[in-house]
Symmetry: C2
Amino acid sequence: MKFSITVTLKKDVLDPQGKVVQNTLINMGMNNLKSIRQGKHFEVEVEDKDQTLAEKKVDMMCKKLLVNLIIEDYKITKI
Amino acid sequence: MKFSITVTLKKDVLDPQGKVVQNTLINMGMNNLKSIRQGKHFEVEVEDKDQTLAEKKVDMMCKKLLVNLIIEDYKITKI
């Protein structure tokens, strides 16, 4: 069972890396760019058959290791 | 108009960072974990009204700066 995890910085947290990318794109002539924010993406494959259980495990992985809950949000979707 | 860009390493490219995360999760007692691969995620907001044009611009950003097409794949979705 495969899951996709998207980790993004919370709205109020500064994103210097994203800012640099944004400035670079603007310098490259991409106008009309309003904002760009960078995050992380994980593709996890677990061997469980039961979707609820699998989702619970993936959620645990996020909480325990992959996501810094103080500054980051995450979203799990089945793929 | 907001777009989400997911950048992943191509299937045959080694992912040492993902491997480390995988080993750590296994050491933490997460069994049944088959694989985990790490990628990047961008959230872009452009000011264009026309979706086709906006998508084209975002695609150009990916090709010119955000994605290394030799080793990475990318997917753009509207959000």
